[in-house]
């Protein structure tokens, strides 16, 4: 593309008062080829925009540099269609509103900002969306044929898309199919499970292809172009899909581990799953002798909420026990149910069912079981009754039901071990080490992804595949693969229905976006993608290891094999690459390097230090905007460079900056760790890790380590920003000017 570039400076909102605009236009654009340069008192107004539009029309301008307010405002006003590159240079929130007006330093800041903008615009290319060679599919592969899986398939079909449903058992239904009845909205009475109708609906739906007695042997490719190998009753079948919903459900917690509650010891101690199956099969009787049950005791949180077993709450067990108590009462109104609980957790309208269970006369005892035993052919349970403050004994029990919790089907019974890296500390004698849940090698076989980073979805601790579980609950770390239902977190029927429909929505959306070469969340709509200049690749594997989304496979020679449809466009690979071979059309190592190079570094005797701040655009940059809107003040010596994610930070920028005489580098990124806020999961953490290697660079240049600093900045931390900057400037002053100035 032949660029015709125009620069427009808005002089409104105090910019004109703070800056010498004429000088700015001259100094800030000097080194660049600029075809048109203008200023306007209100660029975002109708007349201002008209000026730009006219230049585009009349002068053939296709690259527009706007020196005005933050890119976060007036985004719609300064949109001139897909063929015009727009680069926004912030002269308001970062300059005019926070710096002293008509000041030399303010002016220099504005000029540097404009230079960086011009440099960036020069290197920016229009995106050319990725188009795979294969034909795209928009079908949704659903793995798991329980309530969530069947719902995902049905909802997909209702929206006019096709679904492929793979179930390992010989029939659909999962746990739903094993249930006698269910308790769901509006939680007044027990309801039919609807399993039979749902199975029939799935089977009747021509848009759904059902594979029972089947497993997914291999999924290769990526969103839009997944190739799925299915083993169907021993036969190999291949299907193509655009996206995947993993609804592999849950397994009950292994009650054999609950021998302190008498399981395995007494025949009449059973799990809630066994209770359900018995009820569904017909009559509830004592397993020991088949005699009728009169007194039943439910032990809640059998395993759940117990650090020795399942530290989390399994969410559904309170309702399940109330449901099963109802079965007992329906069978024999004179029967007595005791429910031994820690907290009754019937949230939302489900409280109504608790009230019903109480109305039915079920006896709720708050406390923990201390012993389960047998006397005279009947069971007894001893418990600390918290509300009586006494140890109590409930005798003459026919049945004790353990409300065992839910374990995601993805969680392996035994944590897999892999060969430990050479420097691992906790490797065993054979040099093996436990796989972390946060890895594609942890979970039980379900998807068998042909991904370099492992065959399954990485999980959070406890084995639930999930990542951003508050704002973006469908985000997993494998693009186009969404988990749904109890594999994601323990949830009751009503929620599983919604969750599955939501996952199907995401799957369909992913296929649609992928088909037109667009990224999915969080950079949804982005049409650029990383391109690899393989000639210079040294097979260092950093990109393939670090990609948070497992987008890059590897050939046997360790050459990266990018799968652009799996890519989320965070740029982590670009930041990881020591050879700078990975670039986006509008974001590259060279581009940012050039921007940094365009910053003027004053001579040492001018006593004007220069600091480059690489700032994450997701959280830290909006926070900086807020600080500007609040008219806070900070040092005029800092130049902010916008990052897609701090994980895209390449160390070469630091080395280049320091060797040019830049006095310090400040990195602002999201919180990492367990409660990370990075929108690309691992970006800020990787940046921080990478930074540990910067010491080599500093040593080589014989520079002080204080010159480079990483700070976590959340979006609401704007009050802290001036202090962070000022503290850093103080450090820089202490360590003195960079000796490389003027080289």
């Amino acid at each position: 593309m032949d660029k015709k570039t125009a620069v427009y400076i808005c002089t409104g909102c105090g910019i004109g008062d703070a800056l010498n605009v004429e000088q700015l236009l001259e100094e800030g654009t000097e080194e660049f080829t600029i075809d048109v340069s203008k200023d306007h008192p209100c660029l975002c107004g109708v007349e201002g925009v008209e000026v730009i539009k006219k230049d585009i029309a009349d002068e053939g301008i296709n690259t527009v540099i706007i020196g005005a307010c933050s890119y976060r405002v007036n985004y719609d006003v300064f949109n001139f269609g897909p063929d015009v590159i727009v680069e926004r240079v912030n002269l308001r929130e970062q300059v005019a509103w926070v710096m002293p007006p008509e000041d030399e330093n303010t002016q220099e800041l504005a000029e540097d900002n404009l230079r960086m903008g011009c440099s960036k615009a020069k290197d920016t290319q229009l995106p050319e969306p990725f188009k795979a060679e294969e034909e795209y599919s928009k079908d949704v592969l659903v793995v798991g044929g329980g309530i969530a899986g069947m719902t995902a398939a049905l909802e997909t079909a209702k929206a006019g898309y096709k679904a492929i449903l793979v179930e390992k058992e010989d029939k659909l239904g999962g746990f739903l199919g094993k249930m006698k009845q269910s308790v769901t909205m509006p939680y007044k009475e027990l309801a039919d499970t609807g399993a039979a109708e749902m199975i029939a609906a799935v089977e009747a739906e021509e848009k759904i292809k059902v594979y029972t007695s089947s497993t997914v042997e291999k999924i290769s490719g990526g969103p839009g172009i997944f190739s799925v190998d299915i083993k169907n009753n021993g036969n190999a079948v291949n299907e193509r899909a655009g996206a995947v919903v993993q609804a592999t459900g849950w397994v009950p917690y292994d009650a054999n581990k609950l021998d302190h509650l008498g399981y395995g010891k007494f025949k009449d101690v059973i799990t809630n799953v066994e209770m359900e199956e018995m009820a569904a099969a017909g009559k509830i009787t004592r397993p020991s002798d088949g005699s009728p049950v009169k007194n039943v005791l439910f032990i809640q949180c059998a395993g759940s909420r117990d650090p020795e077993h399942l530290p989390y709450c399994s969410s559904v067990c309170c309702l399940v026990s109330m449901k099963q108590a109802t079965y007992v009462k329906e069978q024999d109104p004179e029967a007595v149910n005791y429910v031994l609980y820690k907290d009754v957790r019937t949230v939302g309208q489900a409280e109504d069912f608790y009230r019903k269970a109480q109305q039915d006369g079920n006896i709720f005892i708050r406390g923990a079981a201390t012993e389960v035993g047998e006397a005279g052919g009947k069971l007894f349970v001893e418990a600390d009754d918290e509300l009586l403050g006494e140890n109590v004994k409930i005798e003459d029990l026919d049945l004790v039901v353990l409300a065992v919790g839910m374990v995601p089907a993805s969680k392996p019974a035994v944590t897999p071990r892999i060969k430990a890296p050479a420097d691992a500390e906790n490797a065993d004698e054979e040099g093996m080490i436990e796989v972390l849940p946060d890895s594609g090698f942890f979970a039980n076989s379900a998807l068998n992804l042909a991904y370099r980073q492992g065959p399954e979805l990485p999980t959070l601790k406890y084995g639930f595949p999930d990542s951003h579980f508050i704002c973006f609950p469908y985000e997993t770390r494998r693009t186009g693969i969404y988990s749904a239902g109890c594999v994601k977190r323990p949830m009751e029927t009503a929620k599983a229905l919604d969750d599955a429909a939501g996952a199907a929505m995401k799957a369909v959306q992913c296929s649609e976006l992928t088909a037109v070469g667009k990224a999915v969340h969080p950079r949804s709509g982005d049409m650029t993608y990383p391109e690899f200049n393989m000639n210079r690749c040294t097979q260092c594997k950093r990109c393939t290891e670090e990609c948070p989304f497992g987008a890059i496979n590897e050939d046997e020679k360790a050459n990266p094999l990018p799968n652009p449809t799996r890519c989320r466009r965070c740029g982590v690979c670009m930041g990881a690459c020591p050879e700078r071979i990975i670039s986006f059309k509008n974001y590259s190592v060279g581009m940012i390097g050039n921007m940094i190079k365009s910053v003027n570094v004053p001579e040492e005797d001018e006593e004007k230090p220069r600091v480059i701040c690489l700032i994450c655009e997701n959280d830290a940059l909006p926070a900086l905007d807020m600080a500007g809107i609040k008219r806070m003040k900070w040092s005029p010596y800092v130049r902010f460079v916008q990052m897609r994610c701090l994980g895209s930070m390449n160390l070469v920028w630091i080395a280049d900056s320091l060797s040019r005489g830049i006095d310090g580098i400040l990195l602002m990124g999201c919180r990492h760790g367990d409660d990370y806020q990075c929108h690309f999961v691992k970006g800020s953490e990787l940046a921080n890790t990478r930074l540990s290697k910067v010491s080599e660079t500093l040593d080589r240049l014989a520079l002080e380590s204080e010159r480079v600093k990483f700070v976590e900045v959340g979006i609401t931390d704007y009050e802290k920003i001036p202090k962070i900057i000022d503290d850093f400037m103080e450090t820089i002053e202490e360590v003195g000017p960079n000796p490389y100035k003027g080289w």
Binding site: G12, C13, G14, C42, C44, G45, V46, C69, R72, V73, Y75, A159, G160, M185, P186, R305, Y312, C313, S315, D343, R345, T346, V347, G348, E351, D352, E386, G389, F464, H468, F469, I470, C471, F472, P473, Y474, R489, K495, D498, D499, A500, A501, G502, M505, V508, E512, V520, H521, P522, S524, G525, P622, I629, K630, D675, Q677, H679, G714, I715, T716
Partner: protein
Amino acid sequence: MADVQTTNQSILVVGGGMSGITSALEAAEAGYDVVLVEKNPYLGGRVAQLYQYFPKLCPPNCGLEINFRRMRQNSKIRFFTMAEVANISGSEGNYNVTIKLSPRYVNDKCTCCGKCSDACEAEIDNTFNFGMDKIKAAYLPHEFAFPMRYVIDPSIVETEDGKKCQEVCEYGAIELDMAESTFDLNVGAVVWAAGWNPYEAEKIDYYGFGEYPNVITNVMMERMASPNGPTQGKILRPSDGKEVKNIAFIQCAGSRDENHLPYCSGICCLASMKQATYVRERHPDCDISIFFIDIRALDRLEDFYTKVQEDEKIQFIKSKIANISEDEATGNLLLEGENTRTGEQLRMTFDMAVLATGMVPNKIDIAGAPEVAADEYGFVINDPEKAGIYGAGCVRRPTDVASSVADATSSAFKAIQSIARR
């Protein structure tokens, strides 16, 4: 004024909170035309008023910012603030909707320079902060407001203040003669994501909210803890601005109570635990008591409960508080209850009490609208037999953000299905 072309292939989303934004974005990113209407002058709804989310203790604006960015770059979504549904008729696949726009008195020329606010002298109650402070009558609803545009309060439109605002605006952004207007839409499906209101704490009269200044609600606590709140993030006693030395959180303030809200509001346990961490962070010496009936921390949220329990300054007392009275001289609050674990009658004095008030759904309340199933509490039931208008988020059940987002995503899909069927 609004020039919106829609067809029966379009989706209307009512409510610009977390659920509505999610529904709108998910549908739009799948390629559907969406119109989003929000009655406030900004998007973000209730979550925009929160300081942090549990259990990660992260700022809601972080996710909102991403969503606003998704919205900015997506031409399939058009949104209107200060907009409400005035009328709705029709059936699945073909609804005629009238949207009423209240005047903002500020047009899209606003550059957010803030001069009008500087010039304006009149102050109004800051509803964003639940009236805990005042703002100028020419105001930006909050720093992260999206769209970032000022609002002129109707109370100054015909005053000198209004004129002054208009005069100082260099960009001609203030239009004092702006009037209420309406426009019509044709859509194929509607997602009702109008959110919730906190239960009116005054109704639990024995807690003295509105009478004793040091009794506040959980939503007020969020604002108080926010750096952009009425106290710049300081947790202080409303009566005298003193630092709190001990504070009580009263769970089920209205919820699980047949005299008020018979259902459980689902989120209040976690919200209070989260707010206890706010207090801990600011006042490490403050003693915190959380009074509860049952602690309801579902699934992995249990981890957060475990973590908070480990804090020795936070104690959980199983007691519904039966009464609050105020010491008139000190403003201290006497709480009475029964510690049901020990059987002791409890009388404890606190500097401040936070009522964990529950959620009341904003039900569909439009005369002549097609019937949408709801339970006796007003929560929308998505009835497959009456498809076309779908509830999303807390209008369906009281729930946390993650579940609301999941629900909103599913509702977007239901809306798409309504269109696919026609």
